[in-house]
């Protein structure tokens, strides 16, 4: 190719293109394209702010640099052993309902649970009642099958005060009072048991419905609601993105009177934090021009002094306060 061009040149035939013209042309085109992309990307994308996903973030979750994929509003993950002591006393009441749901219940009562599971009904009953040692055991007893309810009526403190007025009738003997007391107590126990069974059934149905909804929802198929993370997370750390945390925090601490929510007001602030998560400063990049609006924005960013977790390096965030979306009718 080179030779033929040189030959043509020597033979007096002029070439249409300079040597390397193709490369230069390609470079020129590439540069033009990049320039257009750059200018349109940087200068014009800000005008129409793209629709943002609205997050509901649980501020309990700590922000991390590389959040994993998950749900930002999910409750923080708990260690399995932690809830055990806390739920022990609470287990007395609702114990009967969760019976069909073995997962949460057994954990709180490590000692008692194995017994009901392995031993026949009568055995665990007295033990459970003794262990509680408080008037509350009534529900605990209900946890066991119905016929076992009868042996522990005295533990039913709540009905006692209701029956108390009965002795005022002088014509009733002690035996009759006792009989009425027993009848009322038994009736009350039955009633409580029925209520508990009904509510347990309702709870169970609710859980089933929730499970079905979670399984069927197209929006949650890829994101586990159990996992603490960011919807757009690609990292491996459990936690939410700093941006999500800051957005939720500032939204909660932004005070703007209803009488002052007007269309067209918008401010942009840059917030800077050092590597320890302390706010090092802020800059009002674009003020709205409205005194109260801008002050409310400044008060809001001032309320965030420290990030709940240190970022790996000093960081700055550009924050746009723009209530216009909310004012759309």
């Amino acid at each position: 190719m080179k030779r033929s061009m040189a030959q043509r040149h020597r033979s007096g035939i002029t070439s249409d293109r300079e040597p390397g013209f193709g490369r230069m042309l390609a470079l020129s085109v590439l540069l033009h394209v990049l320039t257009v992309v750059f200018v349109s990307g940087v200068m014009f994308t800000r005008a129409p702010v793209p629709e943002r996903l609205s997050y509901k973030v649980n501020l309990v979750n700590r922000p991390v640099e590389q959040p994993r994929r998950g749900h930002s509003a999910a409750a923080p993950e708990k260690k399995v052993s932690a809830p055990a002591p806390r739920q022990a006393p609470a287990a007395a009441k609702p114990a009967s309902k969760p019976a069909p749901k073995p997962a949460p219940k057994p954990a709180p009562k490590p000692e008692a649970v194995p017994k009901p599971a392995t031993v026949p009904k009568p055995a665990p009953k007295p033990e459970a009642v003794k262990k509680v040692e408080v008037p509350a055991p009534a529900p605990a007893k209900i946890k066991t099958p119905e016929q076992n309810v009868t042996p522990t009526p005295k533990a039913e403190v709540p009905p006692a005060p209701k029956v108390a007025p009965q002795p005022l009738q002088p014509m009733l003997s002690a035996a009759e009072i006792e009989r009425i007391y027993q009848q009322d107590t038994h009736a009350r126990i039955d009633e409580i048991r029925r209520e508990n069974e009904a509510s347990a059934r309702i709870e169970q149905l609710k859980r089933q419905l929730a499970a079905q909804a979670t399984a069927q929802s197209p929006t949650t198929t890829t994101v586990s609601t159990e996992t603490v993370g960011s919807a757009s997370g690609t990292g491996t750390q459990a936690g939410i993105a700093f941006e999500e945390w800051i957005m939720e925090y500032l939204a909660q601490h932004w005070t703007l009177p209803l009488t002052h929510r007007k269309k067209g007001l918008r401010s942009t602030v840059v917030l800077r934090f050092d590597a320890q998560g302390n706010r090092t400063g802020y800059t009002m990049l674009i003020a709205s021009g409205d005194s109260l609006f801008d002050q409310s924005v400044e008060q809001c960013v001032l309320s965030l002094q420290t990030l709940p977790a240190p970022p790996s390096k000093s960081r700055s965030f550009t924050i746009i306060f723009d209530p216009n979306e909310m004012l759309k009718k």
Binding site: L31, G41, A251, L256, T259, S291, S296, Q299, F317
Partner: protein, 431 residues
Amino acid sequence: MRYTICLLLCLVCLLCSAGSLLAADIVITTPGRSAIPIAQPTFIAIGAADAQVERTIDEVLTQDLELTGMFEFVERNAFLDDASRLALTTIEVNFPQWKLLGADLLLKGAYTLKDGQVELKLRLFDVNRRRLLTGHNYKGSRDDVRRMVHRFVDQMLETLTGTRGAFDANIAFISDASGHKELYLAEFDGHNIRRLTDHRNLVLNPDFSPQGREIIFTSYRKDNPDLYRRSIFNATEARISAREGLNIAGRYSPDGREVAVTLSQDGNSELYLLGVDGKIHKRLTNAWGIDVDPSWSPLGDKIAFISNRHGNPHVFIIDLLTGVVERLTRAGKYNATPAWSPDGEWILFTRLEQGGFDIYRIRPDGSAEEQLTAGAGNKEHPRWSPDGRFVIYSDDVLGEKRLYIMRADGTGAREISPLPGRCSHPAWAVR
């Protein structure tokens, strides 16, 4: 070639960084709270205390701040010891205490009684930034305490919003307390009432001059609805238009040099521009229908008015430069008394629906019409406060006509009391 590659790499890096910058934007669209928490401890007496003065200060401050709808008061029971200390400087105030209580603003003050005079010191602090936002000392008689507090709240609103409040300004209204409908003057909250006219006949439609020194109104004193002009500070009064027929609904232009008024000297109600001496400068309308109730735009280039030239009474706008008239409202069968807001954003008007008048507002371009009041009674003659924050109007929901005040968005309506007799046709003066 190397140079080109370097250039390309730089461009790519720049694009990437620009992209990451854009992605870092956090957009907050919904404010979590709608009222600024403010702590306002009882004012401290320097020397002899006076329960009446303290009560008045508290009452007026609470009333004015509540009326704005911008603040929520921090519970006084939670106050710590700084509330009872005479600390009026940023060095003395214990800001952490107030921050602990969740206050963003702190309003502190003290008063001194000396020789029948009250000296009032008021300070507004920014708790988060630990700085004084505004502070003033006032001195006057005990009767002036209310005005001192009104004035400070006005100052406070200016500091916070850039627009001065209008609490320290009078309102004019018509009342029949004397047996005749006469013109009265009072503070916006109904205190310090005084009667201006004694025409012993029907007086209507007052309007303040932009400087707030004069007032024009219509009176049947001579058995014809004539236009009068009166000084507020003395009893000087002049009848500036006594033409045959109606001389009603006079409204000062924003520069105070002209008055738009409805005259019917030619047999039909038309709008005219008069000089403040009563001479006709210009006839504005010439249509077969009636044209009444003019209201100036804040720039003075347009006037909203009511006309039934298309059948039912509707709001129209006339451009004073071109003379072009445009229809503004299209709904309803009876619209009346337009009032252009001081910021030019809204036009109030009343509309008769289901047997009663209610107040509406609409943008001057005809968009965003919305109803501000509802319920029983006739809400009539709405007028703006000079700062555009409030609307004052008359309502007969309780049987007799009374004056009410509400925020510009229709919230926070309350009766202005205690005004004598049946009251109507309010107008709010510029300070």
